[in-house]
């Protein structure tokens, strides 16, 4: 039933990415949320030694306006083409940082995050050394993964602004009217000679005890 329409639109407006990764690593302290358990400076230093890493530093709040500004200016100044952020969960801020990359014309999928808060500092609060070692590992995993990331492009396809509604009972009728009143065309298909469905056969209806049609 499905036609192929696969063709990733080669994005215009994004910087081309050379095969040589130039990675920027940012270890977020998240105030003290991460920093009180993880030695962020040490984590950044460890990252600095990794292949392809151009710059690695710890940073107050990566997601904040100044934090983002710092990262963005590094991207532009140093020609970074992969960004690794060790911070809170990507489920929280992946979109934020993707948008940040996009705003400096770097493909948003060249971002990699390491979860240093929900999955590290907050769950190993009594094991600072273990937590720091884990942070170093997670950042290293992210750095190596980031160098293999490929730019990806969202694709848009045109769409027909019409809706097919199958079944003309009270549900189909309501959906049809809502759509039609909003200016959308509707094709309402009913297999019987009249719409109305089961409700048309009812006398009074609960809970109001009034007529159905």
């Amino acid at each position: 039933m499905i036609k192929d329409q696969h063709a990733l639109k080669e994005g215009t407006g994004f910087k081309s990415v050379s095969t040589l990764p130039r990675i920027g690593v940012y270890v977020c302290r998240c105030g003290l949320n991460i920093a009180q358990t993880v030695n962020c400076a040490k984590t950044a230093q460890a990252a600095q030694k990794l292949n392809g890493v151009v710059i690695a530093k710890d940073i107050g709040y990566a997601c904040s306006e100044p934090g983002q500004h710092e990262i963005k200016s590094d991207i532009e100044k140093l020609g970074l083409n992969r960004i690794v952020i060790g911070s809170c969960s990507p489920r929280l801020h992946e979109l934020t940082f993707r948008k940040m990359l996009q705003s400096v014309k770097l493909n948003p999928y060249l971002l990699e995050m390491a979860n240093l808060r929900e999955q590290c500092s907050w769950v190993h609060m009594t094991d600072k050394e273990g937590a720091t070692q884990k942070a170093i590992d997670l950042i290293e995993m992210a750095v190596f993964r980031s160098s293999l990331l490929q730019p990806l492009y969202e694709n848009t396809v045109p769409l027909t602004k019409r809706t097919l509604i199958i079944g003309g009972g009270v549900a189909g009728i309501q959906a049809a009217l809502d759509l039609a009143d909003n200016g959308y065309e509707v094709i309402l298909v009913e297999k019987k000679p009249s719409i109305g469905g089961n409700m048309a056969q009812l006398d009074k209806t609960f809970p109001t005890m009034d007529c159905s049609i």
Partner: protein, 595 residues
């Protein structure tokens, strides 16, 4: 209803069925078969002269056979379109030489015997499935005597009987003697909540419908004796309890227990024997009439549509929504929505609410006039594909097509692909690349995490929506667990390739955990079924190789189960401690020998 017929934006096709749908979200094409009405619906004024002369008498479906109609008829007075229709199978004059009386009677000349079925093609961007329900037929429930005793009616027959527009003009009469009944019994859950006959589910509306009927009856005749036989009364909706209390105050007798048997007495009354759960006694009642509160079952056309549109059904046979709490009107297939009883039995209010929600979801999808396709989808490397079709089988979204006869490579419709990565994990020839979660990227993560202190590390695969979120939740709740856990995130546990696991063990991993959403909660419909199957396969192989199966664990952890996540981690640590350096060495040796 009449608004639908008049609305300039609504094209109403009655006597029509969708016979095929192709394409994908935003760009579907539907083929619709419009059966001939033999009456021009635009011209017909519903004067009814035609039916007066028609010699054919047939039971009237609208009155569930309690009255009759002609071969040319209007389904009910308020029908939309307000037009007569000929049932061609019943009409004598389909060949005008035989009858054609109606043609002569119609002064507007809108009856045409030569009309033929039409096939219509429509391009649409979204689809709402609102096919409703069918009524349970109580014929198989012999003990209630529906087929044997004339005075046993279904709730729908009763509805027609009390309807002022119905066959008796709203007079409630006992079918055998056409006299008003002095006593009447209702039997609940007929065809519902039963593992043997009908459905196992609650049909949702029949308790309230019975309560409604008791109020209507008491209004007609305050002295009528009413008994309701029930399992329990479900009056959970807004204003429902009030109606129930009103019914009880009017001395309707609610008896907890379903009748075991029903006999007809010589005067056609019905003798009901029931074990009353409140008195723990077998009780007997003689009643003039009985009404069976029949259940709602999936519409007969459900299966056909399910196949045509690539939808899923619940075990009850109703359509399955993408998520029971968070996406209650979306089908898992993008661009398709559910409304009303097609999704599950419900009352009018809920049907209408869901219909408005479905319309809203459709508008949300369509308003921009284009749709965005997420780039985290999979891609086929055509040169490596052997057209085996495995990916087609595993994809929960029917996003892949392959022609196995022609041996053309598989094609993935990226608009339909949701990016679970199951196909990439299952393709035996490595012919599918899951963008952003490629083999190379994930293997690299494994390599890095196992390069130092390998014996101490616990490799955990977690799916984005449930177990990874559960791990986050453990963090938010500050639940502490050992720091040697390293998580690799995939969108779905279905992405965890068999090769990742062997790779990890070969690199010296002491233990590996694969985690995902609970079965039934998978964000990608049922992709985690494949995860489970895959792990069972790997466990079997491990056993054959002499590897301890325990070292590979599978855990279902939801986004809310922070505690479970932390506990699982502690369990993994205990397990890891049981793995010795020798055991790891042996494993590496065994695995190296094989490949």
């Amino acid at each position: 209803m009449t608004d639908v017929g008049r609305h300039p934006n609504i094209k109403l096709l009655t006597l029509s069925e969708v016979v095929d749908v192709s394409g994908y979200v935003g760009n579907f094409t539907a083929k619709i078969l419009k059966k001939s009405r033999y009456v021009d619906e635009k011209e017909c004024t519903a004067c009814g002269e035609c039916a007066k002369v028609c010699p054919v008498l047939r039971p009237d479906e609208f009155n569930v056979g309690l009255s009759s109609r002609r071969a040319i008829y209007i389904p009910f007075p308020q029908a939309v379109p307000a037009s007569y229709v000929i049932n061609a199978n019943e009409c004598l004059g389909y060949n005008p030489a035989v009858c054609s009386k109606c043609i002569d009677a119609c002064t507007k000349k809108c009856i045409h015997f030569h009309m033929s079925d039409e096939e219509i093609e429509e391009n649409i961007g979204s689809i709402i499935v609102a096919t409703g329900f069918d009524l349970y037929e109580p014929k198989e429930l012999e003990e209630y005597g529906y087929t044997r005793f004339e005075n046993v009616l279904t709730s729908m027959e009763f509805e027609r009987l009390v309807n002022a527009g119905g066959p008796t003009q709203g007079h409630i009469i006992r079918p055998t003697d056409r006299k008003p009944p002095k006593s009447i019994g209702f039997i609940q859950c007929v065809g519902s909540r039963s593992l043997k006959k009908g459905g196992a589910y609650c049909s949702n509306i029949c308790c309230m419908n019975t309560i409604k009927s008791t109020l209507v009856l008491k209004e007609h005749d305050p002295d009528i004796d009413i008994k309701v036989f029930y399992i329990d009364i479900r009056a959970f909706g807004k204003g429902f309890e009030d109606l129930y209390m009103r019914s009880r105050k009017l001395c309707v007798n609610y008896i907890k227990g379903l009748p075991g048997s029903i006999y007809e007495l010589p005067d056609h009354r019905l003798r009901v024997a029931v074990e009353n759960a409140n008195t723990a006694k077998i009780e007997q009642y003689d009643l003039d009439m009985l009404v069976l509160a029949i259940g709602l079952k999936p519409s007969a056309t459900t299966r056909k549509l399910q196949e045509m549109l690539g939808l899923q059904l619940t075990s009850d046979g109703f359509f399955l929504e993408a998520h029971p709490k968070l996406q209650p009107v979306d089908a898992a297939t993008r661009g398709i929505f559910f409304a009303g009883c097609a999704e599950a039995p419900k009352d009018i209010k809920d049907s209408v609410t869901q219909a408005s929600a479905a319309a809203g979801r459709a508008i949300r999808l369509m308003h921009k006039g284009e749709i965005t396709i997420e780039p985290i989808t999979s891609e086929v490397i055509a040169s490596q594909c052997k057209s085996c079709g495995i990916c087609v089988e595993v994809c929960p979204y029917n996003a892949i097509v392959v022609d196995r006869q022609q041996k053309t490579p598989a094609q993935i419709n990226t608009a339909a692909c949701a990016g679970c990565g199951t196909c990439a994990a299952e393709c035996p020839f490595g012919a599918i690349v899951m963008n952003h979660f490629t083999d190379a990227q994930i293997t690299k993560q494994i390599d890095v995490l196992l390069q130092k202190d390998t014996k101490e590390k616990i490799l955990t695969f977690a799916c984005n929506w449930c177990s990874y979120a559960g791990a986050d939740y453990a963090g938010v709740s500050r639940l502490q667990y050992p720091a040697n856990i390293r998580i690799i995130r995939t969108m779905c546990s279905g992405r965890v390739d068999e090769s990742f696991i062997w790779h990890a063990f070969k690199k010296g991993a002491p233990v590996v955990l694969v985690s995902g959403c609970h079965i039934g909660d998978c964000h990608y419909i049922n992709a985690n079924h494949w995860t489970e199957k895959r792990l069972v396969k790997i466990w079997k192989k491990m056993e054959k190789m002499g590897l301890r199966q325990e070292r590979l664990q599978l855990a279902w952890i939801s986004a809310a189960e922070g505690i479970r996540f932390a506990e699982t981690m502690k369990h993994m640590e205990r397990l890891r401690q049981s793995v010795t350096t020798e055991e790891i060495g042996q494993t590496i040796e065994i695995l190296n020998k094989i490949s």
